[in-house]
């Protein structure tokens, strides 16, 4: 029983991370129907940035977010202006396909550039609280895992508040539902897309910190994008609260699968779940039918 709870608790921690990983992707996909598969690469770059800030400025990794988030907001801004803006006018399917292809190119470039700049060596940020735990009735909960869960809840909640409580957030949602009607409201739609893309990229900073505290290398980009896609589908496209749910579901299912299929096929369980959902409930487990 204790072992089961212990293992599931790790599932919750990685699930919260998966939720964070998918958040930016989901926002961008929901608002402008861009499938930004480069998101995993951006998270990987964020991890290196965290590493830098920690190494050179001796910041705590979580504190480094005050630099990392704005940096990635700017990166997102530049990427959108340079590459993605010109896709806005395309019809839906073209838009999706081209965004997928372009971001795929970015994924390749980023992971190879990172290998060039920092080698393929494994990296991690060591802190005084790495490995420290709270013992709760025999179940040991690592600080970093708990911090991940809190971070996920706070960030998802904050994004949710931003989208539902501010004028600009509502404008972004309006754009995601009806691009043209939004412009009739006086909303500068391309600007709303620009800002939400930049926010989506900035959100890569949060999982970036968690990954930096665990372990990473340039090739994690692909893995992270995969996880993000799985969560995106589990959550239901564009559902931000669903992202947290989908992430946790994936994390717990992966952890529990150890009992069912053994460690070797752990990753397969999540993927099979993903394919089944894609085939039978493409709107997501929680999503409504369009």
């Amino acid at each position: 029983m204790g072992a089961l709870l212990q293992i599931l608790s790790y599932g919750v921690f990685s699930g919260a991370l998966y939720g964070l990983v998918a958040l930016g992707l989901s926002l961008v996909f929901g608002v402008m129907n861009y499938l930004n598969v480069a998101h995993g690469a951006l998270i990987m770059l964020a991890s290196y940035t965290v590493l830098w800030v920690c190494y050179y400025l001796h910041f705590d990794p979580f504190l480094s977010l005050i630099l990392v988030i704005p940096t990635f907001f700017v990166i997102g801004w530049i990427l959108f202006m340079g590459l993605f803006q010109r896709l806005l006018a395309l019809p839906e399917t073209e838009k999706l396909k081209n965004s997928l292809l372009i971001s795929f190119g970015i994924l390749l470039i980023c992971s190879n550039a990172a290998t060039m700049l920092w080698t393929a060596d494994e990296r991690a940020v060591a802190t005084s609280y790495t490995g420290k735990v709270i013992d709760l009735l025999g179940v040991r909960l690592p600080y970093i895992g708990l911090a991940t869960v809190f971070l996920a809840i706070i960030v998802v909640f904050a994004v949710h508040l931003f989208l539902t409580r501010t004028y600009f957030g509502k404008a972004i949602r309006a754009v995601s539902q009806d691009y043209e009607a939004a412009s009739w409201m006086g909303i500068n739609t391309s600007r709303a897309c620009l800002v939400s893309f930049a926010i989506g990229v900035a959100l890569a900073g949060f999982p970036g910190v968690v990954i930096a505290l665990q372990t990473f290398n340039p090739m994690v980009s692909f893995d992270l994008t995969n996880k993000a896609l799985i969560v995106l589908i589990l959550a239901g496209v564009g559902s931000l609260r669903g992202v947290l749910f989908g992430g946790l579901l994936l994390g717990v299912v992966e952890a529990a699968s150890v009992f069912l299929v053994g460690v070797a096929y752990r990753e397969v369980v999540g993927l099979v779940l993903f394919v089944l959902v894609l085939m039978f409930r493409p709107q997501g487990i929680g999503g409504r039918k369009a």
Binding site: L100, L101, I102, L108, V268, L271, V275, L278, F280, P282
Partner: protein
């Protein structure tokens, strides 16, 4: 008539090429060009013509390689093992490929990617070891044989795609690509055509996989299942021109030669350059490099009239 002559002379030229160049290294490059052109065309039929962007072609490539390998190392002749690999690939398509059409549009893309990853992990788990070329098979191994096989399969593939592009079937595939709902509305059984495209595509991928397994003396069993074998044909098709007969061939030539030229002098930068070339192509050359020729010709024609 003239064009037939041109193609015939090209084929003859390529048949005698190994005698002319007499370099194992260049023969290697030619084999790679044929291999990539074949694989890329396999992707092109499904992705370029039918509009179903598969990110899971490695699965079918791998299935072909795996089957070929087992038969060939088990003593079956390569010319029997090669079609057997293609058949295995087709069977796999029936098992997992067609159900994946339940997923539409981008769901199909990411769904096939997931399937490819499942296949990769499964093969890694079941066959963690290396597939060694045996001494007996090594005797049968000759670059020249492989070249003619690869070239033959490549020419057959291009010919098949050419025939397809001019057939009713090709038209139906394009209509599925352009607007699936509209195609359905005018009575095209889109599922049927997608299945046909997938079948042809996987058979060709299986052949390509067999050639890889023949060509690569020794490798890890999972090597042909690696995701690169899904991404490379897509990159090649888009750079050359997806949905065209010539595009993947041009793409493969550019892909292999550029990589060869850059790899020596530029190292890792060559992958960056490739990524940038790819993005630029997607953004500005929706028809790929072949599109440039098209634009030039169009301008040419309008200037004349």
């Amino acid at each position: 008539m003239k064009s037939k002559l041109g193609i015939a002379s090209f084929v003859l030229l390529m048949i005698f090429a190994p005698l002319l160049i007499k370099s194992e290294y260049l023969l290697n490059l030619l084999i790679l060009i044929c291999l990539y052109a074949t694989l890329s065309h396999s992707w092109n039929i499904l992705g370029g013509y039918c509009g179903q962007i598969s990110l899971g072609h490695a699965t079918f490539f791998g299935a072909g390689a795996l089957t070929f390998r087992y038969l060939w190392l088990g003593g079956v002749s390569y010319y029997l093992a090669l079609p057997a690999g293609a058949l295995a690939s087709l069977i796999l398509a029936f098992a997992i490929g067609f159900p994946s059409f339940k997923m539409k549009g981008h769901y199909f893309s990411i769904g096939t990617l997931a399937l490819a990853m499942i296949a990769l992990i499964t093969v890694q788990n079941l066959l963690p070891g290396v597939s060694f070329i045996t001494e007996a098979c090594l005797k049968e191994y000759s670059l020249l044989t492989i070249y003619y096989l690869a070239f033959g399969v490549g020419v057959a593939t291009v010919a098949a795609v050419y025939a397809l592009s001019r057939s009713k079937l090709g038209l139906a595939l394009v209509s599925v690509r352009e607007d699936e709902e509209a195609a359905e509305a005018i009575g095209i059984n889109t599922f049927k055509y997608k299945v046909v495209a997938m079948s042809i595509s996987t058979v060709i991928a299986g052949f390509a996989g067999g050639i890889f397994a023949f060509y690569c003396g020794t490798y890890y069993h999972y090597a042909p299942f690696e995701l690169g074998w899904s991404f490379d044909p897509l990159l090649i098709a888009f750079i050359g021109g997806a949905g065209t007969v010539v595009g993947p061939v041009v793409g493969a030539v550019v892909f292999v030669l550029l990589k060869e030229l850059f790899a020596a002098s530029l190292g890792q930068v060559n992958v960056l350059i490739f990524g940038i070339v790819f993005i630029v192509t997607v953004l500005f050359l929706p028809k790929g490099l072949v599109g440039i020729a098209g634009i030039v010709r169009k301008k040419d024609r309008s200037a004349r009239t």
